[in-house]
Amino acid sequence: MLLDVRNLTVQLKTESLDVSAIDKMSLSMRDGSIHALVGETGSGKSLFARALTGTLSDKWHVKADRFFWQGEDLLRKSEEQRRQIISKDIAMIFQEPKLSLDPTARIGEQIEEVIPKSDFTGSFWTRRQERKTLVNKLLLKVGIKHYDFCSNSYAHELSEGLCQKVNIAMAIVRHPKLLIADEPTDAMESTTKIQILRLLQKLNESKDMSVLLITHDLESVVQYADEMTLLYNGQSVESGSVKRLLKRPFHPYTETLFKSIPKFNTEIAPKSRLETLKGSTPPLQHLPIGCRLGPRCPRAQKECVVTPKSVKYKGQVFSCHYPINMES
């Protein structure tokens, strides 16, 4: 197991507010897989990534029953040790590729500075040249053919897709075991989107690098991810392999989510309304107690005011008092 998180709670504590933005969420990842973390906007996907990499500000408090990274408990380590482990093995790319590059430095310089010193073989005098070839190799690896032009440019001179490729290049330079992609294709054209996702898939296969794909784009999840975890308002809903979830979800939310996309819902009659849940996601200040889906759930009953325990059944993990598709 690469990553094993149990009952992670992230609390936002300010003078006027004390809420759990992530409430007892669990996630576990196999080595070498593409794992999708899916949820609506504000469901705490990005928050999870930031809790994982330790880049949350002081306002947030992180608690967990288990926080294992390759068998090591990260919560027991000091912040400095944690940062070392994380920066060694985990890399991250963000949803605004242009903004996550330093605007005043050339792309080449920025890639050079993240190349670890151990990658250099030559002496001090040949280092400059060596750096340049390494940068070019990296850029070529992520599919940028005009690497000379690219490394001499500033971030604002490149397109979003190119910037994301540069970010990926910088992420894979240290050969990380896990790449967290936080909505990497948000607001991108579909052709660029496919390029980026294909690139991630290729890197996953060829370099044995696991990818945690944080997204709300179900179609790309179904196409590229092996496993997925579904979040609703900071609670984990269901997780398991994508194919099985699609075929036989146990949680009503999972079913509705897939049904809301016509591509996966073949039974839908032409020109009929798409299936949705009533209401909208509650804001952080007005979270319902118990199962947070409760007020919107078609199957909700009295017991749903108590947070359901997660149940493991046929390789899937779900948290619901009244699951569906259980009969056979």
């Binding site: 990499t53 880049t55 994380i86 920066s87 060694k88 985990i90 890399a91 991250m92 963000f94 605004e96 903004l99 996550s100 590059l101 330093d102 605007p103 005043t104 430095a105 500075e113 993240v114 500033y154 604002h156 001179e157 970010n167 910088m170 992420a171 240290r174």
Partner: protein, 342 residues
């Protein structure tokens, strides 16, 4: 880039034109005869007055008078001083270096103190260090410098005799003036006891430099701090944090440059404050610079001198602003981007 330069140059020329127009109008607005105000000559007999009036074009239109005035300025003829009846341009050249020297050291001190302190405070935002630095800076910013200058004199010169009270150099030493910049002059001078002279000149410099540096330093700390806070919040710093850079690398490679670039145009504000503070400081410490000289001129109603200094100081300020703007454009790729977009 070329278009941008032209545009800045246009701004420079327009502003200089307006300043010269204002300066020209002062010659007419000041009390007394415009001929005397423009030329500065006070003891004229009738024929001389007529001749001068002719050369200044007083019987012609204002427009032609202005052209003649411009031509005189460009030739370096700023008129005579009322009080000494010597050409003003010589006086300015005599007193300017002392001011430039003082301002330069103060500016150096400002940069050396202000940038790191502002950086430190910005990185440790809301921590104790930040609070201490920011509180001190705000307090120092609120103290008028004529008061702090006098307090410095009281503590360091009168009560403790560590530093001299006024002037640039002890009267014992006679340094021939060649460049006007004292430290340079000492270097060029042929003297046996150079080290002692240097020491004396430097001790004279300490208090005025400190006094003068207070305001710009606090200002720079404030600017740098807020800029650093902004940069620290930006996504690329968060991204850089996940890339395994150490805090020191992060600050030296990303934070410092990105924080300093946007505040370069605001540096002209520093120069502005420096300029006005110089005048006060020079009076307090009897520093023979342009501020001291100007205030003397104001006391003596030396209209040509006031007019000339106004013109010069304003022109220098405008040029500094324009140069900083162009510099900003050169070092900031983001500013160049907006330039292309226009």
């Amino acid at each position: 880039m070329f278009v941008y330069l032209i545009r800045r140059l246009n701004l420079l020329i327009t502003t200089l034109f307006l300043i010269s127009l204002f300066s020209f109008s002062l010659g007419h607005f000041f009390p007394g005869d415009p001929v005397i105000n423009f030329s500065g000559q006070q003891s004229l007999d009738y024929d001389e007055y007529e001749a001068l009036s002719q050369t200044l074009g007083m019987n012609q239109s204002y427009f032609e008078q202005y052209i003649i005035y411009l031509r005189r300025i460009l030739d370096g003829d700023l008129g005579l001083s009322f009080s000494t009846q010597t050409p003003l341009i010589d006086d300015v050249i005599r007193v300017m270096p002392a001011s430039i020297e003082l301002s330069f050291y103060a500016l150096l001190l400002t940069l050396v103190l202000g940038l790191p302190l502002g950086l430190w405070a910005g990185i440790k935002q809301h921590k104790l260090v930040d609070k201490i630095i920011f509180t001190l800076a705000t307090m120092a910013n609120s103290v008028p410098i004529f008061w702090s200058g006098l307090i410095f004199i009281l503590i360091f010169s009168l009560n403790n005799q560590i530093f001299p009270m006024s002037g640039r150099l002890n009267l014992l030493y006679e340094v021939p003036s060649q460049t006007g910049f004292l430290l340079m002059d000492i270097f060029l001078a042929d003297m046996p006891n150079k080290l002692a002279v240097y020491q004396d000149a430097l001790t004279h410099l300490v208090l005025p430099t400190l006094t003068l540096a207070i305001l710009p330093t606090t200002l720079l700390i404030g600017m740098m701090r807020s800029s650093v806070v902004n940069v620290m919040r930006s996504p690329y710093i968060k991204a850089a944090l996940t890339k395994g850079l150490s805090t020191r690398e992060l600050i030296s490679r990303h934070v410092f440059r990105n924080a300093i670039v946007p505040i370069i145009p605001q540096f002209s504000l520093l120069f502005n404050i420096l300029m006005t503070s110089t005048m006060i400081t020079e009076i307090i410490f009897s520093w023979p610079g342009i501020g001291h000289w100007l205030i003397e001129a104001i006391y003596q109603r030396d209209y040509p001198a006031i007019q000339a200094t106004l013109l010069l100081v304003a022109s220098i300020m405008i040029m500094i602003t324009v140069v900083l703007d162009i510099l900003h454009m050169l070092v900031n790729p983001l500013a160049r981007q907006t330039l292309h977009a226009k």
